[in-house]
């Protein structure tokens, strides 16, 4: 009985080996091999090492002991983590929505014939082009104190100064506004390309049927750019959740941790506390959340 089953499994292996030796398999595999090696070396291996680190209590200079899932358990039982998660969610949702509304509005405007359109288009791309550090310092200058631009503007209306970066809620608003300001040009540019791809005859037919502008926007424009919009929302979510620059450079995650997102949190564990295990656990948790989101949104895109 044993012999028969062993013989069967040997013959299965042989069949597989024969199939692998077939040119239909070996030729594509040979061509794919460099990419597979690159993918393994640049993505799979670092991810594997990162995941292993999240299961240890190591530091930047010492490998540490295997601690199982205790870093994840510590994370999920920490109040600080939920505060960070809450801000990350608010930050991502506000950025996606803000960028989409602003980007779409400007894309619709740029899609129309108007004088100086080229100049406007270049000017609107500036926030996206300038380096993050310059942008963040600029926003800090504009919001720092009573002498800063925002308060000079408020003074015109007789308002007393607001110390934006000293108040938790206002700092969140400033950090989100800065991120939207920096990211909307990409959204605008992509949506503009999508708008320009819509068949004009659809609007002409709708106009003949007596459709209003609002109806055309709602029934033609939005459905036509839906696929692009989902992809853009997905990208913007990933970039927002993974954004380190704005929360750190503007407020260093403060005041009192109010603008600390998952990436700043991971950075603080890794480089502030030299606790690589926890830093890796935060990063992996972030990646897991983003992967779930990607799957859900791509499935939605496929359904649509």
């Amino acid at each position: 009985m044993m012999d028969t089953s062993a013989g069967r499994s040997i013959s299965v292996w042989r069949r597989c080996a024969r199939r692998l030796r077939h040119p239909d398999v070996t030729v594509p595999l040979t061509f794919l091999l460099p990419s597979l090696i690159l993918l393994f070396g640049l993505i799979a291996y670092p991810m594997g090492v990162g995941f292993w680190l999240s299961l240890t209590d190591g530091s930047l200079l010492r490998a540490g002991e295997f601690v199982g899932l205790s870093n994840y358990a510590d994370l999920l039982t920490s109040n600080e983590f939920y505060k960070v998660l809450r801000f990350s969610t608010i930050y991502a949702v506000a950025n996606v929505m803000g960028c989409y509304v602003l980007g779409l509005s400007l894309a619709l405007l740029m899609n129309r014939a108007m004088p100086g359109k080229g100049v406007f288009r270049v000017l609107l791309l500036l926030p996206w082009i300038i380096p993050s550090l310059v942008a963040a310092i600029g926003w800090r200058w504009m919001a720092a104190d009573e002498h800063a631009l925002f308060n000079q503007f408020l003074r015109l209306f007789g308002s007393s100064p607001i110390y934006f970066l000293s108040d938790q809620t206002w700092t969140i608003v400033i950090v989100i506004a800065a991120k939207i300001w920096r990211s909307f040009p990409f959204m605008m540019l992509s949506l503009l390309a999508a708008l320009q791809g819509i068949d004009r005859s659809l609007y002409e037919a709708a106009a003949i049927d007596g459709a209003t502008r609002w109806q055309m926007f709602w029934e033609i424009t939005l459905p036509q750019i839906k696929t692009v919009s989902i992809v853009l929302a997905l990208l913007m979510t990933i970039w927002s959740v993974n954004d380190f620059d704005m929360p750190w450079l503007i407020a260093q995650g403060g005041p009192a941790g109010a603008t600390e997102n998952l990436i700043v949190y991971a950075f603080r564990f890794t480089f502030g506390r030299n606790d690589v295990g926890m830093g890796a656990a935060v990063s992996f948790f972030t990646m897991l959340v983003l992967m779930i989101l990607v799957v859900v949104m791509l499935r939605r895109q496929k359904d649509s």
Binding site: A144, D145, Y163, S166, G272, N274
Partner: protein
């Protein structure tokens, strides 16, 4: 014949050794130096290294200037990848943290050598003690950065207020000058400046973040009183309202503009300020219990254990320590030299901030690790983590002090347990 062969062999061997020695390359030392002053500093430091290289043939030092931004990642990555320098300057607790990972070579041999020839007397013992960790000196001190109180003499004079000598007078003075866009005190709550000001007040009151045995002392009564004092200043309306969000640069500017009358900073901070004529240093303030105390850091030059030339590295460290006056005179280094002989140079005039600070604050100085002695690895994480920054932000924003301390204590314990 045997004697002839023997003589010939000796001559040939000696010639070979001589030829090898003559052709031997000098020991190459990689020296990474942080930027301790403004843009002139790396130029002055490179010139000093060139001077060392020209002064002898045994050691060739290669200079590399390292910016402070991302310093920790720079050094940790270098050590982890086996590409650490032979010698470097660095943050106050860098040496002790890296020593804990066997990456640093103690400099005790150099200190013993200097003790033997008497030259170590030029460096006050406290600076050497500050570099001690479990019986060894992990770095060689070369400058110190203390935190002292400054005031705007013009603002105080305008309000008829005398410079304060204790906390009560400081609070009264801060309240007296507050009004019309001027505030009593400004803190840099968004970076290390604010947390060091808070720490100075804790030490001033006889407290400190650590106990003698390096455990948490954060909730000690003396610390609570210091935090209550800061909160009282804020509740009086005497603290600049932007303090929570200010970084050090913002706070300096506010002080220089005359938006605030008091600030805690390092002695040389305002030496080149346009408002320097109106800025004075306060002697150490007395706490309600009559205590004095101020935070100080000892910056050091360290040798890495992977160096192939330990003796050459120590030789360079000694030379650097004895000859680095141009770092101040030409490089505009911002800290105070630890060597008494350097401090006597005309660059540090009698009555100038550096000499006054050393004279007036010498009895008050306490390390970041107080009440524990020396340095220990957790200090780097405690200073860099940001929970002390959150603590002063919480205190300034009016959060309940015991709740804020409880949160900070939890984070401190997590770091100490790690």
């Amino acid at each position: 014949m045997l004697r002839l062969w023997s003589g010939l062999t000796t001559v040939l061997t000696s010639a070979a050794i001589f030829a090898y020695a003559a052709s031997a390359e000098p020991a190459e030392i990689e020296f990474w130096d942080m930027i301790w002053g403004s843009k002139e500093y790396p130029v002055a430091a490179q010139a000093l290294v060139d001077e060392f290289n020209a002064s002898q043939d045994d050691v060739e030092v290669n200079y590399r200037s390292v910016p402070w931004s991302g310093w920790y990642e720079t050094f940790v990555t270098a050590v982890a990848s086996g590409s650490a320098p032979d010698v470097s300057t660095g943050a106050s607790f860098q040496a002790v943290q890296l020593y804990d990972f066997d990456a640093i070579m103690p400099v005790d041999a150099l200190i013993e050598e200097m003790r033997a020839d008497g030259t170590i007397a030029d460096i006050p013992q406290r600076y050497l003690d500050a570099m001690q960790y479990d019986g060894v000196h992990v770095g060689f001190p070369w400058n110190t950065a203390m935190r002292v109180w400054f005031y705007r003499a013009d603002i105080l004079a305008e309000h008829g207020v005398e410079p304060p000598t204790n906390w009560d007078e400081l609070r009264a003075a801060a309240r007296a000058v507050t009004g019309d866009g001027t505030y009593g005190v400004v803190f840099a709550g968004a970076d290390g400046g604010g947390q060091h000001s808070m720490h100075t007040l804790m030490l001033n009151n006889g407290g400190g973040v650590f106990t003698e045995d390096r455990t948490s002392n954060l909730s000690a009564e003396e610390n609570v009183e210091a935090l209550e004092f800061i909160q009282a200043l804020a509740q009086d309306g005497s603290v600049h309202p932007a303090s929570i969000g200010y970084k050090s640069g913002d706070a300096h500017q506010a002080f220089e503009r005359g938006d605030a009358a008091f600030i805690v900073d390092i002695p040389s901070r305002f030496a080149k300020s346009p408002a320097a004529g109106s800025i004075r240093m306060l002697p150490p303030l007395k706490s309600p219990d009559g205590e004095i105390g101020a935070l100080y850091f000892v910056n050091n030059i360290m040798v890495y254990s992977d160096t192939q030339h330990p003796e050459a590295a120590l030789k360079f460290v000694r030379w650097w320590s004895e000859n680095n006056l141009p770092l101040w005179t030409e490089g505009a280094a911002g800290q105070i030299p630890v060597r008494a002989s350097l401090l006597e140079d005309d660059h540090f005039p009698e009555g100038g901030d550096a000499r006054v600070a050393v004279t007036q604050y010498s009895d008050a100085l306490k390390t970041f690790g107080s009440k524990a002695d020396g340095a220990f690895p957790a200090l780097n994480s405690v200073d860099g983590d940001g929970f002390l920054r959150t603590l002063i932000q919480d205190v300034l924003s009016g959060k309940d002090i015991s709740a804020a301390l409880e949160q900070a204590e939890k984070q401190l314990t997590a770091i100490l347990d790690n």
